[in-house]
Structures are given as structure tokens and as C-alpha cells.
């Protein structure tokens, strides 16, 4: 118990205690006060945790010791501290936004107490997952995490889609845990220990270690949502209450990434094919994730698919890191892992930002179909602004944080190509182009989202749009982070670099990540901002001088334009979606009558998930029909039962007789 002597650590404990304490406050009878007080307590606990994290070695100049506590059950090395930092950082704004979001459930006479209990358990168990150092403890916290997420997910359980989506999540997490069992059993068998800190294997030894790697890739890949294991994700995340789906998309799927990193730490250095595997899987996930997203009309579904894309980008980064570790190039390794880790943080930030924003919209409009929205910018200027910030960031456009991490990944590509010559440049160039392609698609997707939701005029009349202080606080905080990391990435890059140098590298540490001329970014972006501001002032001046007025938009002479004549989401994305029709399962329903008289005509476009509709469901139905065909077992006549006994006895007897 001398662990408690350590001040930073005791603060850590206190933080957990307070977070747990939040459950107690739910016993208050009045829902609103209960919710409010317990969220406040929870936030306090999280902030304390964040402070303790900041006080840890990761954020100071000293070497990260990688200490273990509680008889080796908990271990705080660079990776753990980094991820726990992400968790706490994201959990704070989501919880804050929850105060206003959950209140509207209370308005609907729906009790949110059970939800909030599971939410708190989810937060705590997630933090346990990343600091666990003992296999069983890890698995337990992992399952508690998944299941509490599930139980929180079913808040609106009487809805059909909620049942469906949550069930997808439930089944997927069960498959996952089975795979993890096998993987950890193999690890345990290989090393004879239950502790992560003792797991050090080298790929040289036989088939088992590659098997472990593949299993971890599948198991954690399901959680992270790599294609083709992503199919549950766009089903599950949209139907969760937005507070939860923000946390799910922001943090929980990152646990898969954490797992992959962990496995790498067990098995490093990995051979090169692992790197290529991850690169290819990541690229596929990135491209098709965003392409699926482009075909969606349900805002949260769209964002969920974007998580797949970003996970893909992270995977690409990890792949580069693996290649670096395979060829013992610490510079490449640093760049790859650095990009991946930083993008993990960035995605956590802007994805939760976007989800919370969509939550605000859903709360007010009660719909998630963006085809019915529009013109919200005139009702909620700041929400639109924050959402825009998030969108720019997620599209990897400077000067926001998304660009920084993608830049690191790009640099990783170039570095790899230059370090190991011969055929690498071509392959790397392919990936460079692929990433650029993803960027273009993301731009298309988020211009679509923003313009269809916020810009133009309202396609459907909005009664009242109310956004509370909590929304502003959480969204503002997150978009501030986006801008901060974009404009001044040095400290974050430093942290990431430190995480990597604590145990990732098999060579001597490299300063490739630090030596990128970050000050240029600060310079350029700030001058960009200044330039814009100056120009804006100039513009105002000129407008004052020469006048400014507003008039109706140019309708090519046609006077009374209606909101329904605006470019809709499906028409915006149609040209792009028709390219990979078959993979997107993209169907258009056009009804245009050829009668000379004007009659109502319509256009609809849908996209279904390939893996889900072409692989998973068919398999399930096949098994069902198979089971239905086995009739002889379901006899009702007792004489058959007796006959079974006789038959089985004779069979067994025969076996017994023939047994040597």
C-alpha cells in the first residue's frame, strides 16, 4: 500500500473514488437535481483525474518509469497515461453536454437514472481497461465496459432501430471477447504469466505468435471498426443517446487501437507483412468508410461511418510504424506511430464534438435525417460555427488539428520511401494518393453535411431551437482544442513522441517527429488568420463606403423559389456515390412520370452496408434455415425418445466394442 504514498497516484485514486461517488447522487428523488449533481461530481472527478494525469511523468520532462501498482495489477506506462488522458479529456465535455441533452429525455417523462449509472460505470471501466496490467482484470474491465455501454444504449429501447442496433453491438462484442480469450490464452501459454509487463515475444518463434497477432488484429479490429469488421458500428452508434454515442465514437472504439498498440508492445519488433496488412486494411477502411458516409442521410450514421474512416487513417499510421519497426528505422516508426497516436487524440476530440453537435440538433428537431433540415445557421449561429470547426478538422483541412496528424502520416510515407529505396516509393506513393483521395471525399462529405444541415433555408419548419449553456461550454471547449492543436502542435507532438520513445522503438530514439518545422505551422496559420481578419476589416470598410444590401438569390428568372428546390444531400453526393454502386449497395428510386401534365415525382437514394447485407445476414439466415431443416430432433411422441436411447446405446456400445 505504499503506492498510496505517491501524491500523484493518490490523487488518481481520489479521482476514481469521486467518479464512483457520482452514482450515489443519483439516489436523489428529483430526476433533474439528481442528474445535475451527479454529473457535476463526475466532472469534478474527471478533472481531478486529468490533473493527476498531467502531473504524471508523461507531461513532465523526466523519463516515464512505467510503474506498477497494487501488486502489479495496474501499470502506468506512456501508452496507458496517454489513453487515459484522451478518455478524461473527452469524457468531460460529453458529460457536460449530457446535462442538457438528458434533460430533454426527462421532459419526455423518461427516467435516465439507469442510463446515467451505466454511463458512469462505462467511464470508470474504460479507464481501467487502459491501465490494467493483469489479463483477467483487463478482460473483466473490457467486458464491463462493453456491457455497460450496451445497457446504457438501450435507453429508448421500445424503438425498433434501437433494438436492432444495440443487438448488433451486443453480438459483435461477444464475438470479440471470444477472440480475445484465445489470444490471451496463447499469450499466457507462451509466457506463463498473467501480467502484461511480462509479455515479450519475438516473431521468430513458430506459428503461435503470428496467430496471436492476427487474433489481436481481428479482436481489437472489431472494436475499432476496421472494414470488414465495421458492420456493427454504423448500426449501434446512431441509436445510442448522443451523449453515449459521442463517447463511443470518440473513445470506446479507440480501445481497439489501444489493444493493437498493446499487442505491438508484446510482440515488437513485428515483421513487415504486419505493416502491409495494417496499411491495406486501413486504406480500405478509410476510403470506403468515408464513401459509405457520403451515401448516408442519417447524420449520426454518417458520423459513425466517418469513425471507420478515421480509424482507417490511424491504422495506416500504425502500419507505417510497423514497417519502420520491421526495418529497424526509428525515424519511420516515430512518424507512423506519432501520426496514429495524434490522430487518435484528434479524432477523439472532433468526433465527440460533431456527435454532441448532432445531439443538439436531434434534441431540437427530433429527426436525424439531414434531408429534412437546413437553414439552421440562422437559428443557432454558434452551434453551426462549432460544428463547422469540427467538420473542417475532420476533413484534415488546415489550420485545424486533423491536418496535423494527417501531415505526420504523409511525412511518414515520404520518409519510408526515402529511407528504404527500391520499390517502396511506388507503393508509398499509392498510399499518399489514397490518403489524398480520402481527404477529397471527406471534403465532399462534410461540405454536404454542413451545407444541408445549416445553410440555405429550412426545408421543414422549425418551431423553436433552444441550445443551452452546457452545449456551448462543451462544444466550445472541444473546438478550442481543435484550433489549439492545429495552431500550436508542439506540446502535443512532444507528448506523443515521448509515448513512442518509452518502449515502442527497438532502435535508438529518433527526433524525426520533433524536427518537423512545427513553428512554420504556427507562423503560417496565424498569418492566415491575421490576413483574414485584416481583409475582413477592409471588406467592412469598403462595404460601408460602397454600400451593401441583400436581395433574393438568382433564380434564372424564376421568382418564387421554395426551400424544397434546394440542392439536397442525395443530389449533392449522387455523382460520387454512383461510382462504387455495387459496393455501397447504392440504390436510387426515381419516379418521374412522362405525362405532359405536372404530377408529383420523387427521388430517393439508399445505401446499405455491403458486409452486413451480403455476408452477415445471409450467413445467419443460412444457419437458421439449416436449423429449421433438422426436424427429427423435435419429435413430440415419447416413443421416439425411447428409440433414441436404444439407438444411442447401440452406437456407443459398438464404439466400446471396437475401441482398442
Amino acid at each position: 500500500m505504499n503506492d498510496l504514498a505517491d501524491p500523484g497516484y493518490s490523487l488518481f485514486i481520489v479521482a476514481f473514488a469521486i467518479q464512483l461517488l457520482a452514482i450515489v447522487f443519483l439516489s436523489i428523488r428529483n430526476e433533474r437535481t439528481a442528474l445535475f449533481s451527479s454529473s457535476i461530481v463526475l466532472v469534478i472527478g474527471l478533472i481531478l483525474g486529468l490533473i493527476s494525469t498531467f502531473s504524471s511523468a508523461l507531461f513532465s520532462s523526466v523519463e516515464i518509469p512505467g510503474r506498477t501498482f497494487f501488486s502489479n495489477w495496474i501499470r502506468l506506462d506512456g501508452l496507458s497515461i496517454y489513453f487515459i488522458f484522451i478518455i478524461q479529456l473527452v469524457a468531460i465535455p460529453t458529460t457536460v453536454s449530457g446535462i442538457s441533452y438528458l434533460n430533454h429525455y426527462i421532459d419526455q417523462k423518461r427516467s435516465v437514472k439507469s442510463f446515467f449509472i451505466f454511463y458512469i460505470i462505462l467511464l470508470i471501466s474504460t479507464q481501467f481497461v487502459v491501465i490494467a496490467n493483469q489479463t483477467i482484470f483487463f478482460l473483466v474491465s473490457w467486458e464491463v465496459m462493453s456491457m455497460s455501454a450496451y445497457l446504457a444504449m438501450i435507453l429508448e429501447r421500445e424503438k425498433e432501430e434501437v433494438q436492432r442496433g444495440s443487438f448488433y453491438y451486443f453480438a459483435a462484442s461477444h464475438v470479440l471477447i471470444f477472440i480475445l480469450y484465445i489470444m490471451f490464452f496463447l499469450l499466457h501459454h507462451q509466457t506463463g504469466s498473467w501480467y502484461f509487463s511480462d509479455y515479450h515475444l519475438s516473431f521468430s518463434s513458430g506459428i503461435v505468435v503470428p496467430l496471436i497477432f492476427i487474433l489481436s488484429l481481428i479482436g481489437f479490429g472489431i472494436k475499432a471498426g476496421f472494414i470488414p469488421f465495421h458492420f456493427w458500428l454504423p448500426q449501434a452508434h446512431p441509436i445510442a443517446p448522443t451523449v453515449l454515442s459521442a463517447f463511443l465514437s470518440g473513445v470506446i472504439i479507440k480501445m481497439g487501437i489501444y489493444g493493437i498498440f498493446r499487442t505491438f508492445l508484446f510482440l515488437k519488433p513485428v515483421p513487415e507483412w504486419c505493416g502491409w496488412l495494417l496499411l491495406i486494411v486501413g486504406m480500405i477502411s478509410a476510403i470506403f468508410g468515408v464513401w459509405y458516409a457520403l451515401a448516408q442521410h442519417d447524420i449520426k450514421r454518417l458520423l459513425a461511418y466517418h469513425s471507420v474512416e478515421n480509424i482507417g487513417i490511424i491504422g495506416i499510421g500504425i502500419g507505417i510504424g510497423f514497417i519502420g519497426s520491421a526495418n529497424n528505422l526509428s525515424s519511420v516508426q516515430v512518424l507512423g506511430f506519432g501520426g496514429a497516436l495524434l490522430h487518435t487524440l484528434n479524432h477523439a476530440i472532433f468526433k465527440s464534438l460533431l456527435f454532441i453537435g448532432s445531439g443538439v440538433i436531434y434534441r431540437n428537431l427530433g429527426i436525424r435525417n439531414i434531408e429534412l433540415m437546413g437553414g439552421l445557421i440562422h437559428r443557432a449561429k454558434y452551434i453551426a460555427l462549432f460544428f463547422l470547426a469540427g467538420s473542417v478538422a475532420i476533413s484534415g483541412i488546415p489550420p485545424f488539428n486533423g491536418f496535423i496528424s494527417e501531415f505526420i502520416v504523409y511525412t511518414g510515407f515520404f520518409k519510408t520511401a526515402n529511407e528504404l529505396k527500391n520499390y517502396y516509393p511506388i507503393l508509398m506513393l499509392m498510399f499518399v494518393v489514397g490518403l489524398a483521395f480520402v481527404g477529397g471525399l471527406a471534403v465532399g462529405c462534410f461540405t454536404k453535411v454542413n451545407s444541408v444541415i445549416f445553410l440555405g433555408s429550412e426545408r421543414r419548419e422549425v418551431k423553436r431551437f433552444h441550445s443551452s449553456i452546457y452545449d456551448y461550454v462543451s462544444l466550445g471547449f472541444l473546438s478550442l482544442l481543435c484550433i489549439l492543436i492545429g495552431f500550436y502542435p508542439q506540446p502535443f507532438v512532444g507528448v506523443v513522441n515521448k509515448v513512442i520513445s518509452s518502449g515502442f522503438l527497438n532502435g535508438n530514439s529518433s527526433s524525426a517527429l520533433i524536427n518537423i518545422d512545427w513553428h512554420y505551422f504556427t507562423l503560417i496559420f496565424s498569418s492566415l488568420a491575421i490576413g483574414i481578419i485584416l481583409l475582413y476589416l477592409l471588406k467592412l470598410k469598403l462595404e460601408k463606403k460602397y454600400g451593401r444590401r441583400t436581395s433574393a438569390a438568382w433564380g434564372c428568372g424564376y421568382e418564387n423559389l421554395t426551400p424544397r428546390m434546394q440542392y439536397s444531400a442525395s443530389s449533392f453526393a449522387d455523382e460520387l456515390n454512383t461510382i462504387p454502386k455495387t459496393i455501397l449497395v447504392y440504390q436510387k428510386e426515381v419516379e418521374i412520370s412522362d405525362s405532359p401534365y405536372p404530377v408529383s415525382s420523387g427521388f430517393e437514394s439508399h445505401s446499405k452496408d455491403f458486409v452486413d447485407y451480403k455476408i452477415v445476414l445471409p450467413l445467419f439466415n443460412f444457419l437458421r434455415s439449416l436449423a429449421a431443416r433438422i426436424g427429427f430432433l423435435s419429435q413430440t411422441d415419447i416413443r421416439y425418445y425411447i428409440a433414441f436411447i436404444l439407438i444411442i446405446i447401440s452406437i456407443y456400445g459398438l464404439i466400446a466394442f471396437l475401441w482398442v
Partner: protein, 484 residues
């Protein structure tokens, strides 16, 4: 003699009392008292505070210690809730059933304890048959067609199965012919000691007969049908009792012969048979989870699945053996919770059809949440116990000589889980068409209390991992020569 009387005679006597006394409340008090002291004693015996000396034909070893603790634990809770269960407005025809309810329960306790403590095959056989006889009328509790049919089928099938087990016993004596055991008594320990001399062919034959015969009672496919019918039509406490303890009683018999066969050359054969049976039961559960539309049958099939898992673990040996024994505890406890909650649902909705049960979580919130938790427990979600036993079994399989089995098992378990989840969640979430049920606030009943206690117990055993249990299980493993 004291233990003997507490374990067997007093239950018998109280059965007689319950027959004489007409007042239900008094019967309840008596049986509760009996069950309490029974539980106390079996705990004491288990913890080794109290060394038992039982008359001939009876004896205590680590295995029976273990099983009788499970039995009296399950039995205690079942008796505890029985009264409130009987007080419910059930079908009018059940009035007659209530009269004999406690009598039969006590008789069951006596018979089952006798079966668990018996050190002699003949004794075991008589007691096991007696448990069947005591349970059969309880299955017929509701006095309706289904329960009658279920009782008939169960009685008939299990009697024949038991008869086969008897043949097995006779074959065992035959295998002892010409050895030092010839003409001796059928004591387990003697046979185990001198197992090497037994004639392998007759031994194998006797294993086959005993295994298949008792399978009707354990519920190992394809002899599971009678069990399914019985468990799904019996009143919930009885169903809990059957799934929790009766199946284990039968399993004990198989374990005994298994223990005898171990040192001989036919051990591999026995293991193979156990594994085949286990896989068949998993398969059956897998198939029927796709079709079943009656939630008590669903739970019954889940029992089949889990008994299959247990016998698989026993067959695989090694770590899986230990896991299987843990699984026996956890499964028995979880099944009690599941069946009690199912009973609550049944007494509210008056139906066992899944399609007629809607939005339980709104109508019966407490029951609903406990049901979800119990379902999670049964499907191996930590920190609820079964997780820990399951991973032991899995790891045991993975590092046994048949690792490929793990893939099959996981496949079956996965789809069983998926379908079970689908059905249960439909019951819990889907909105019913009639709103007269929707407006229901549920008051906290004894069953809820019991369920919570048992779930806590489930977590406690798993997390605290009491040393006694572990040591005892290690002892059992030693008796079976399992090397860990």
C-alpha cells in the same frame, strides 16, 4: 448419526409431517427450518468444521461434499421463495398440488441427499430413482394438460433411463468377476482402488449404460427431451431445483463410474463419450435456440447447453475439469435466478409464449433488470461467475490434446447466445400492442431479494475466490487424477 438424521431422516420425517399437517404456513415453517439446518450442516461439512461419520452405504468425500453444498444452497433458496410463490393467484386446479408441495419437496431433499452421500451404487440407484419419483408429481403441479404430459414423459423416460443405469451397475459387478472384488459390495472406493483389475469390456459396457441411462436425467442430448418438457412445465421453483441440483445428482453417478474407469485403459473411451455427448447437447441447444418460442423451454435448453459444457470440461480434463466444477456452482445459482424471474414474468403475463410477452422492462422493471443481469451471467459476462469458469474451460480445451474443439464450442456458444439474446431482448423491449399492461409499478418481492442475493453471491464467489472452494475442487481433481 446426527448428520445422517439431519441430511436424510429429518427431511423424511418432515415430509411425513407435511403430509399430516394441512396448514400451508406450518408446512412452510417446517421445511424452511429443515432446509436451514441442512444448509448449515452441509456448509459445516464443506468447511471441514465437522467431520461426518455416516452409516454403511453412505460416506463423504470431497466430491459429495461439494455437490451436497450446491444442492442445499439451491434447495434453501427455493424453499424460501416457495411460500410466496404458492400464495400467488395461480390456476385454480393447482390447489390440490399445493397440498403435497412441501411434502414432496422434503422427500426430494431426503432422496437427493441420500443420492449425493451414497457410497454404494445400489444405494445411489435407489435414491436417484426416488428423486425422480418425488419430482414427478411436482411437475404436475398446475394440473393442466401440458404439465400432465410433461410429467408422464419425464417419469417414463427417466425411469427407463434409470433402469438402464441399473443394467450398467450389474455390468459393473460382472466386470468384477474373477477379481478380488467378486461377490463383494458395490462400494465406490473399493472399485476405485482396485479399478485396475476390472475387465475392460464389461467396464466400458457399464460406463455406456450408466452414462446413457443417466443422460436422460442430466439432459444430455439426445436424451434431453423429457427433461426439457419437465423443466419448462414445472412451477418455476421446481424448475430451478431441477436445473440447479437434480441434473447434478445424475451427473454425480456418471462421475462415479468415470472415477472408476479412470485408472484403466478405457479412460480415453470414457472421455471421448463424455465429449461426444457434450457436443451433441451443445448442438441441440444451438439448433433449438433458433426455433424455441417459449421462454421456459429456452431456459431449459440453456440448461442443456451448460450441462453439456460441464461434461465437456470433465471429458477434456486438466484445467477444463476444474472449470467444469466451478461451472456447476455458478450454473446452479444462475439458473435459480433465471427461473424465479421467469416465474414472475409468467405470473404477470399468464403465458409462456415469447410472442405474448412484451416490454417487460416497463411492466416489471425490477424483474426485467434482474432478468437481464441473470442472462448476462448465464452468457458469461464478467464479473458474474460463469465468465471465470468458462474461460477456465476454454483455456483447458485450447491446451488439451484437442484444441480444435474450442472452435466448435465457441461457434455453438456464440449462436446460442445470439439467439437467446434476441428472444430475451424481444420480450424485454418490444412494445406490446395492448396498453393495459403497460401501466404497472412493481413492488419489491421476496423473489427479487433472493435474486439479488444470489447474483451478489455469484460475483462474490467469483471475485473473492474462497480458498476452501478452490482447495476442495483441487481435491476432487486429485481424486480424478487430473494433473494441473
Amino acid at each position: 448419526m446426527l448428520e445422517f438424521s439431519i441430511f436424510i431422516l429429518i427431511p423424511l420425517a418432515s415430509a411425513g409431517l407435511c403430509y399430516l399437517i394441512k396448514n400451508l404456513r406450518v408446512q412452510y415453517a417446517i421445511s424452511l427450518f429443515v432446509s436451514t439446518i441442512h444448509l448449515g450442516l452441509s456448509l459445516a461439512v464443506f468447511l471441514g468444521l465437522h467431520h461426518t461419520l455416516l452409516p454403511t452405504f453412505f460416506g463423504v468425500d470431497s466430491l459429495s461434499k461439494f455437490f451436497i453444498l450446491i444442492l442445499s444452497n439451491v434447495y434453501f433458496w427455493v424453499v424460501l421463495v416457495s411460500y410466496s410463490y404458492l400464495k400467488r393467484p395461480v390456476m385454480p386446479r393447482a390447489e390440490e398440488g399445493k397440498r403435497f408441495y412441501f411434502m414432496l419437496l422434503n422427500f426430494y431433499l431426503a432422496a437427493n441427499s441420500a443420492a449425493m452421500l451414497s457410497s454404494h451404487f445400489g444405494m445411489y440407484w435407489v435414491a436417484a430413482e426416488a428423486t425422480t419419483l418425488s419430482v414427478a408429481p411436482l411437475i404436475y403441479f398446475y394440473r393442466n394438460e401440458e404439465s400432465l404430459e410433461a410429467m408422464w414423459k419425464y417419469l417414463f423416460l427417466v425411469s427407463i433411463g434409470i433402469a438402464f443405469a441399473f443394467i450398467g451397475i450389474l455390468l459393473l459387478t460382472l466386470s468384477a468377476k474373477g477379481t478380488s472384488l467378486a461377490g463383494g459390495q458395490l462400494f465406490f472406493w473399493e472399485f476405485i482402488r482396485k479399478a485396475g483389475q476390472l475387465n475392460p469390456i464389461w467396464l466400458k459396457a457399464s460406463f455406456v449404460f450408466i452414462f446413457v441411462g443417466l443422460s436422460t436425467k442430466i439432459g444430455i442430448a439426445p436424451m434431453h427431451s423429457g427433461d426439457i418438457d419437465a423443466t419448462s412445465n414445472a412451477p418455476s421453483p421446481i424448475a430451478a431445483l431441477m436445473s440447479g441440483s437434480l441434473r447434478l445428482t445424475a451427473l454425480l453417478g456418471v462421475l462415479r463410474i468415470f472415477q472408476i474407469i479412470r485408472p484403466t485403459s478405457s479412460f480415453e473411451f470414457a472421455k471421448t463419450l463424455l465429449i461426444i455427448g457434450a457436443l451433441l447437447s451443445l448442438f441441440v441447444a444451438f439448433v433449438f435456440m433458433f426455433r424455441v418460442n417459449n421462454y421456459k423451454r429456452l431456459l431449459a435448453y440453456s440448461s442443456v447447453e451448460h450441462l453439456g459444457l460441464i461434461s465437456l470440461g470433465l471429458g477434456i480434463g486438466g484445467l477444463a475439469f476444474v472449470g467444469a466444477l466451478y461451472h456447476a456452482i455458478y450454473n446452479s445459482i444462475t439458473k435459480v435466478v433465471l427461473f424465479l424471474m421467469a416465474g414472475n414474468i409468467h405470473s404477470r403475463f399468464k403465458s409462456r409464449e415469447v410472442d405474448k410477452i412484451r416490454s417487460v422492462l416497463n411492466v416489471l422493471p425490477k424483474t426485467g433488470w434482474l432478468f437481464i443481469l441473470a442472462f448476462m451471467a448465464i452468457s458469461g459476462i464478467p464479473p458474474l461467475g460463469i465468465f471465470f469458469s468458462e474461460i477456465k474451460i476454454f483455456e483447458g480445451i485450447l491446451f488439451s490434446d484437442k484444441p480444435y474443439l474450442l472452435a466448435v464450442v465457441m461457434f455453438f456458444l456464440l449462436f446460442i447466445f445470439v439467439n437467446m439474446g434476441k428472444i430475451i431482448f424481444t420480450m424485454l423491449y418490444k412494445k406490446g400492442d395492448d396498453d393495459k399492461l403497460q401501466s404497472g409499478v412493481e413492488k419489491f418481492e421476496l423473489t427479487h431479494f433472493v435474486a439479488i442475493v444470489l447474483l451478489i453471491l455469484l460475483v462474490a464467489i467469483a471475485v473473492a475466490a474462497p480458498d476452501k472452494v478452490n482447495l476442495n475442487i483441487i481435491d476432487i481433481a486429485k481424486d480424478f487424477g487430473v494433473k494441473l
